[in-house]
Each structure stands twice: as C-alpha cells, then as structure tokens.
C-alpha cells in the first residue's frame, strides 16, 4: 500500500509538470485552433534558460524560474508573429505544418555547438534535497517545490482567465473571434498574450522538469510535449481545468503502469487511455459537445 501511495506521489509530480505544458497547448488551441507542436520545444528552451541562469549567472532558484519564464514568453510571441500569424486565414493544416517546421528548427538549431550543443547536460540542484518520511511514504523537497510552484501557477492562471479583463477578452476571442473583434477587442494582442502566458508556463514546467529528472538535451521536449498535448485532449481541449485533470490522470497512469506492469510499456498505457476516453467521450473528459454545422 505504501508502495502504491509512493508511486501515486511520483505520478502526481510528473502530472503537474505535464499540466504546466498542457495549459499552453489548450489555451493556444482554444484561441487559434492550432496544435502548436513547437510548444514542447519552448518547454526545452525554458529548461535551458533556467540551467544557464543557475549555473552561469548563479541566480537563486525563484529568480531563475522567472528569467526562464520571461525568455520563453518572448520566444512564444516571436514564433506566433513569424510563423503562425501570416497563416491565420489559410487552411488550418498549413499552420500545423509550420508548427512542425518551427519545432524541428528549434530542436536542430539549439543542437548546434554554439547554441546549447547536442549533448546531455546534468541539471544543477538549486535547492537542498531533503527526504521527508511520512508513514513509509517518502516525499522529497523537490517534489514539494514542484507541487507548490505548479499549483500556484495554475491558481494564478485560473484567476487571471476568470477575473481580469484581459482574461475575459481571451475567453471572448476563444468563443468567437470575429464577434470579439467587433466588440472592440484587439484580437492580435490577445493572441500574443495567450502565447506569452502559455510559453511562460511551459518554461516553468521545463525548469521543474529539469530539477525533478536532472538531465536535459535539445530533444527532451518532444515526448513531454506530446504527452502534455495528449493530456490536454484527454481533459477536453480548450478547457483549462480539463488540461489539469487530464495531465494529472496521465502522469499517474504512466507512473503506475511503469511501476506495476512494465516500464517499457508505459506509453502504451498513456496513449491507450487517450484512445479509450476519446471513444467514449469524443471531446475529452470536460469537453463540451462538439458543434456540428449544418
């Protein structure tokens, strides 16, 4: 039983990191209906920015995470302006292809020797690792930091989207872009803000991921990015609480499958649960009924 609870905690740790990435996916999808495949690579860049902030600039951990978030927010907006904005009226698949292009570009460009380099780097431990033992279940200080930072950011995001005027504008644009524009909302600005927030959250996820699984390389974003997208779809894409629920479910399922079945088969369970949920509820757990135009 203690072993099960222990794995549950490890699963939640992974799930919270997925949640931070998944939120960016789901917000962007909600607003521009684009699967932003480059999002996992923004997450990777965030991990590297945090790495350099800690090792080169010797920043304390909270400052490093903020630097990573700010850097990636800019990166997200630049990507949107260059690669997606010109294609907003084109067929949706065109933007998807440029997203794949941007993703490949970031991966291979950062692999060049004068950028991040192709090798694995060991992530520094910015905080002291302490093991707390609670009745046979151990929880590390890193896990506590991951839970705390992720929860704080998720609450902040939910408040931002629900309570502020900008958040209301974001919801309006996601509901109906043209009508929102007619109501005087600056749609381009709102889309940029969405990319900035989503990318900043992914960067925070990247730094936390680097701390929890201390190895980074330029291709580290592919699988977590994909899993986070799956989490967003699982929870109902475009729905912010859905992304969190989906991410936590996915993280827990993955870790439990690795612990109790076979670690090489974890992806089969992660994607298997996605297909099963979609077959039962085609728009995800919290997704609304899909609209059918006649």
């Amino acid at each position: 039983m203690a072993y099960f609870v222990q794995q549950l905690i490890n699963g939640l740790q992974l799930g919270f990191v997925y949640a931070l990435i998944a939120l960016g996916y789901t917000m962007v999808y909600g607003i521009v209906r684009l699967i932003n495949f480059a999002h996992g690579d923004v997450f990777m860049v965030g991990a590297y920015l945090g790495f350099y902030a800690i090792t080169r600039a010797h920043m304390p951990f909270p400052l490093a995470i903020l630097v990573a978030m700010a850097g990636c927010a800019v990166l997200g907006v630049v990507i949107e302006r260059i690669a997606y904005k010109p294609l907003r009226t084109a067929p949706r698949i065109a933007a998807l292809i440029t997203a794949i292009g941007v993703s490949l570009f970031i991966e291979y460009f950062t692999s060049l020797r004068f950028v991040f380099g192709p090798n694995y780097l060991a992530y520094p431990q910015p905080i002291r690792i302490v093991n707390y033992n609670l009745g046979g279940v151990s929880i590390t200080s890193i896990q506590i930091v991951v839970f705390a930072v992720a929860t704080a950011l998720l609450i902040f995001l939910q408040l931002f989207v629900q309570k502020t005027k900008t958040g209301m504008a974001m919801r309006a644009v996601s509901f109906d872009r043209d009508t929102a524009r007619l109501m005087g909302i600056n749609v381009d600005w709102i889309i940029s803000i969405t990319f900035a927030i989503g990318s900043a959250l992914a960067a925070a996820g990247g730094v936390l991921y680097g701390m929890a699984y201390p190895q980074i390389n330029p291709f580290m974003g592919i699988m977590p990015g994909l899993k986070a997208f799956v989490a967003a779809v699982l929870g109902g894409i475009g729905v912010i609480p859905g992304a969190m629920i989906g991410a936590l479910i996915l993280g827990v399922v993955e870790v439990l499958a690795a612990a109790f079945v076979s670690s090489t088969m974890r992806d089969v369970f992660a994607f298997g649960i996605l297909i099963l949920v979609l077959l039962v509820k085609p728009t995800g757990i919290l997704g609304g009924p899909s609209q059918e135009k006649v």
Binding site: I237, L274, I275, P282, V294
Partner: protein, 319 residues
C-alpha cells in the same frame, strides 16, 4: 486511339526508367543515389496512401508510419522465416499490404467516428502504441528484434520493383479518385453531413479510404524493409508520420501530381543538402530544412499544386 499527350507521358516515364537503369549499369550513378531514387519512389507510394486518407477522404491521420511499419515488419518476417528465396518477395509484399489493411480496418472502424484534430491525436496515439509494441516484440517473436532492430532481411527491392509499383499506385489512386467510390470519399471530405443527407454511407467510404491508404502505406513499408535490409522501431516513430504528412500538404491536399513531385523533391532535397553543404556546416542541414519548410508554407499555404493536377492524370480532360 490514345491521344498524343498520353504517348508523351508513357515515353517520358519509360525514358526515366531506361536512363536510371542504364546509368546505374554503367556505374555513372553510384549505388547510394540509386538507393535514394528508390526511397523517393517508396515515399511516393506511402504519401499517395496518406493523400487518399487525408487529401481525398478528409480524415486527419497522424499515424501513417504505424501502417508502414506493420507492412514492413510483416513482409520482412515472411521473407526471413520462409526460406524459398526471391519468390517469397511478392507474397511477402502482398501479406504486408493485407496486414496493414486489416489493422487499418480494425482500428479505423472505431476511431473514424472521431473528427478532425481528435482523429489526428487518436491516430497519433495509435502510432506510438504500435511503435512501443514493436520495441517489445522480441519477447514474443525473437526474429522481430525488438528495440535492437531486425537484421538480416534479404535485399530484394530493386529499382524496377519500386518504379513499377509507384506507377501502379499512381494509376490506382487516379482511377479510384475518379470512380464513384472516390467521388463519395471526396464528398465526405467536403461536408460529411451533406454527404450523409444525399444518401452516402459515410462510415463505409471513410473506412474504405482509410483502409486503402493504410494498405499503400503497408506496401511502401514492405519495399523499404527489403531495400535497407534493417528495420528498427525508430523507423516508424511518429516523426516519420509527420514526414509523410509534410509531403502530402506541401504537394497540395488532394493532388496526385503534387504528392509525387513533393515526395521526390523532399527526398532529393534532404539528401541533396548533404552533398551541397560544405562539411563544416553540415550540422546546418537539419536547420535549413525546417526553414525551407516554413518559408514554402508561408508562401504557398495551399501546397505546391493546391488541388491542381497534371492533365494526363485527369480522365476525360481534353488535351
């Protein structure tokens, strides 16, 4: 009476074949480039399959590499374990096609109910599951090699095979698209509800298009396995599905000419950059390639051919 332009097409097609075979025999074309040409034909077959699924039937599939892999592994398993020499190759190819088609049918029936991006992500998930299963397949069948890869596959694929099969695939897809079944598939792409309203059995035609595309993917996989004589689950991971999708979209959805041109251009460009770039910036090859991809997409969002077609690929067109 065949029209003059049709004769020209037949002559050009035969001439390309003759030139490649002659230069290869005369050692003017090195085996490496001959292999690249063969790979271009294989990508053409696979991409035409995805074009039937996505370009003509409108079903967004991000799991094409899985069917390619099923065809590849099935056919390789047959030629490897059934030692009757080259005679087993056609049988193995057919078996690969059938395996991909059957799996496509079984998975297509439930998941083709999903729409657009949801279908895409479900097929992507399916593709990853298939890849992981092949990673672990050696536990059941040691011949498959699991994550160490499958070695020792006979080298049966020749330029004649891939070229003829690629031409055959072009003809098959062309005839399918302009048949009544093909038109039904196109109507599903244009508007599923309207198609259903005029009495088209949308489930049937979605499944038909999907199974046909998967079968072509399986054929391409079988040819690939016997060209490179080595298979690894990495050859069929989801990034390979993206490659095929890129080709189909770059060529222009729903255009056979576009897919053929884009498949050849894509393969030759990726290899060509290897030759053109000086060795000190060879690392930049995979940086330049996505940049080209983004630029082409920004300049021509509808793809190179965007629904257009060479005249000879359209039946009844006056030429």
């Amino acid at each position: 009476m065949m029209s003059r332009s049709r004769w020209i097409v037949i002559i050009v097609t035969a001439a390309i074949y003759a030139v490649v075979m002659a230069t290869a025999a005369a050692k003017l074309l090195n085996p490496y480039w001959l292999q690249i040409f063969q790979f271009a034909c294989i990508m053409t077959i696979s991409a035409l399959g995805l074009n039937v699924i996505y370009g003509y039937t409108g079903q967004f599939s991000l799991g094409h590499a899985a069917f390619y892999g099923i065809g590849a592994y099935t056919s390789a398993l047959i030629t490897k374990s059934w030692a009757i020499g080259a005679a087993s190759f056609p049988i193995a190819l057919i078996a690969g096609v059938l395996a991909a088609a059957v799996v496509g049918f079984l998975i297509g029936l439930p998941i083709l109910r999903l729409r657009s991006d949801y279908l895409g992500i479900a097929t992507l998930g399916f593709g990853i599951i298939v890849k992981v299963l092949f990673d672990n397949a050696d536990a059941v069948l040691p011949t498959l090699g699991g994550s160490r890869g499958m070695t020792g596959i006979a080298h049966y694929t020749t330029f004649t095979w891939v070229y003829l099969l690629a031409i055959g695939t072009v003809l098959l897809v062309r005839n399918f698209v302009y048949s009544s079944s093909g038109r039904a598939c196109i109507s599903v792409r244009e508007d599923e509800i309207a198609a259903e309203a005029i009495g088209i059995n949308t489930t049937k035609y979605k499944t038909l298009g999907f199974v046909m595309g998967c079968a072509l993917g399986g054929l391409a996989g079988g040819l690939y396995a016997h060209l490179y004589t080595f298979l690894h689950p990495m050859n069929i991971d989801f990034l390979k599905s993206f490659d095929v999708l890129l080709i189909v979209v770059l060529g222009g959805l729903g255009s056979i000419s576009g897919t053929v041109v884009a498949a050849c251009a894509w393969t030759l460009l990726l290899e060509g950059l290897r030759v053109v770039l000086p060795s000190e910036i060879l690392d930049w090859r995979l940086v330049i390639y996505p940049l080209l991809l983004i630029v082409v997409m920004l300049l021509r969002p509808q793809g190179l051919f965007g629904g257009l077609e060479f005249k000879f690929l359209k039946p009844g067109a006056k030429s």
